[in-house]
């Protein structure tokens, strides 16, 4: 079985929001109609987004660290938002595990958003239906596109390659290898939602320099110990 997902590398995300704008651009122009904005050029602009980049500060000055944190639907393997939907508009695709909303069936009751601990579902204020990341389902399943372009818009847009995309059930896929070898983790594991999307932790490269690296213990240039010992036991006294 296939479970498509994103793996987001917090180590290289620079918080440029290119994934946010490319997501909005692709999906607002797509088959599902616009992702509505209200007051876009005014005070209090608000609108529908599938993807947000948040910023956190870890630690206190001076030892602080800025973490940019892209957040979108995690396409849980056990999605709590799906069974609560009264109409069946919210569903998980059998063939690739993407969690989707049928915008023609949604009644806009918002119950699915209550049943998502991650806050990644947003009600469109004008279309009045629930919207969420589709993993660009219309791109990734479009066989008329060259294979290299059959990826979510955010993945293609990311300038630092912080977003990896693939099948997390295939043990040899790029995403599975990254999760396995680079400490990929899931968000809020305490709820048992089993998110398909994973995050790669920040990793600092520390250089360990020991005294021996700077000065070889067997350095031939080191002067020999030429101390003259007197009175002590000599080798001849203890070994023979």
């Amino acid at each position: 079985m296939t479970q498509l997902a994103l793996v987001i590398d917090l180590n290289v995300c620079v918080g440029c929001h290119a994934c946010v704008t490319s997501c909005k651009q692709w999906n607002t122009s797509g088959w599902a109609g616009p992702m509505v904005d209200e007051n876009p050029y005014d005070a209090n602009p608000t609108g529908t987004f599938f993807n947000r980049v948040q910023t956190y500060e870890v630690g206190s000055f001076p030892s602080t660290e800025t973490v940019h944190f892209p957040k979108s639907c995690l396409h849980c393997e056990d999605p709590p938002c799906v069974p609560v939907c009264p109409t069946g508009a919210s569903y998980k695709r059998e063939d690739n595990g993407v969690v989707l909303v049928d915008y023609d069936k949604c009644i806009g009751c918002k119950y699915c958003s209550w049943a998502c601990p991650y806050g990644v579902r947003e009600l469109d204020e004008q279309q009045k239906v629930m919207k969420k990341c589709t993993l660009c389902i219309d791109r990734i399943t479009d066989h008329t596109l060259p294979e290299a372009e059959r990826k979510p818009a955010c993945v293609i847009a990311c300038p630092t390659n912080a977003r990896l995309y693939g099948d997390v059930h295939d043990p040899d896929s790029e995403v599975s290898v990254a999760i396995r070898e680079r400490g990929g983790y899931a968000l809020m594991p305490e709820w048992g939602t089993n998110p398909a999307n994973h995050y790669l932790p920040r990793q600092k490269t520390h250089m360990h320099v020991t005294e021996e690296d700077l000065q070889r213990s067997d350095n031939p240039l080191t002067k020999e110990d030429i101390t003259v010992y007197q009175g002590e036991e000599t080798m001849e006294d203890v070994t023979w």
Partner: protein, 326 residues
């Protein structure tokens, strides 16, 4: 959570409607076994109409909660998994039974077709409908309560208290309304319904207080560390990713001060429990025809505050991601 008045009116109105139906049938049952004096058919017919009006009012309020009310009929589809879907099925079923119950009484189709218990318990169509109605009423209370109690992420709601509170508070306001209705008609059932209303109110006081105490010391399972997966005690959000508000900040925050919450809590604890009980007791002592009506109105206003607080109190884990606009 943001307290939406559509859902506040839905749950309080249908709660009172369900309670009123329970009261009517309790009255019928007691008069069948001759513990209280029998009432004319119009008492049950008008009472059922009142109960039906409350149920319809609640249903109408619920439509304001929907973004696409014209598609509401679709909501019956997923009854196997969704409690909301179950409520959508049980609520019209209850309306139908209450309607038939009223019609059968009004038309006088109350000829017993079997008499049980050595001639003491005649069973007619209204009795069967009433028994069926009690089951459906309970099913509706459970469905409504489970909509909230089944969302495990809202730990304040994820408890059996949610369901028993809906049952006791709805029953209390329904019996209170039955007492008010009897007082308006001037029949002798005011004390009977008033007594049951006080009992239900006291039970509700017990379970609501217990749930308030549970929620006061609740330990939330999620925190900022698990939310973004960074093991550090000093994490502060600097930006939630947008400069104004979004669905996430509108739907899941009540945007009220802790003082307001405390005020509403004190308000409903007074208006729902001691004040209506005192008014009912006073009405009994003074044989007043208007005080039971006042008791119902006061308790209903209190229940609106209670339901508002129920929503505002619940803290959704998604709020961890939406702490800082910049």
């Amino acid at each position: 959570m943001h307290p939406a008045f559509s859902v506040i009116f839905l749950t309080t109105l249908i709660g009172a409607g369900q309670g009123l139906f329970l009261a009517l049938f309790t009255g019928q049952f007691y008069s069948t076994v001759e513990l209280v004096e029998p009432q004319p058919a119009s008492f049950y017919a008008v009472g059922s109409a009142l109960s039906l009006a409350l149920l319809v009012g609640g249903l109408a309020a619920s439509f304001f909660h929907l973004g696409r009310p014209e598609r509401a009929w679709r909501a019956a589809a997923m009854w196997r998994t969704s409690w909301l879907s179950r409520e959508v099925i049980v609520l019209p079923a209850m309306m139908g039974i209450v309607f038939l119950y009223g019609v059968f009484h009004w038309a006088g189709w109350t000829q017993p077709f079997i008499v049980l218990g050595e001639g003491t318990l005649p069973i007619d169509a209204t009795f069967v409908l009433g028994m069926l109605g009690v089951l459906v009423t309970l099913a509706l209370f459970v469905s409504t309560g489970m909509i909230y109690a089944s969302v495990k992420f809202l730990q304040e709601w994820h408890s059996p208290y949610t369901i028993v509170n809906f049952i006791f508070l709805g029953t209390a306001s329904g019996f209170m309304l039955a007492a008010a209705y009897s007082a308006l008609l001037g029949n002798h059932l005011v004390g009977f319904f008033g007594t049951w209303a006080v009992i239900a109110t006291l039970l509700g006081l017990g379970t609501r207080t217990a749930s308030l105490m549970r929620n006061a010391s609740i330990k939330h399972r999620s925190n900022l560390q698990t939310a973004i997966g960074i093991r550090h005690r000093g994490i502060v959000q600097k930006s939630q990713g947008f400069s104004a508000d979004s669905f996430n900040t509108r739907e899941f925050f009540h945007h009220q001060s802790p003082e307001t919450l405390k005020l509403i809590r004190v308000m409903f604890m007074v208006l729902v429990f001691p004040l209506p009980i005192a008014l009912v007791l006073l009405a009994y002592a003074l044989a007043s025809p208007t005080l039971p009506i006042l008791a119902f109105v006061v308790q209903y206003i209190g229940l609106i505050a209670e339901r508002w607080y129920f929503f505002a109190e619940a803290e959704h884990p998604q709020n961890l991601y939406y702490q800082q606009i910049s």
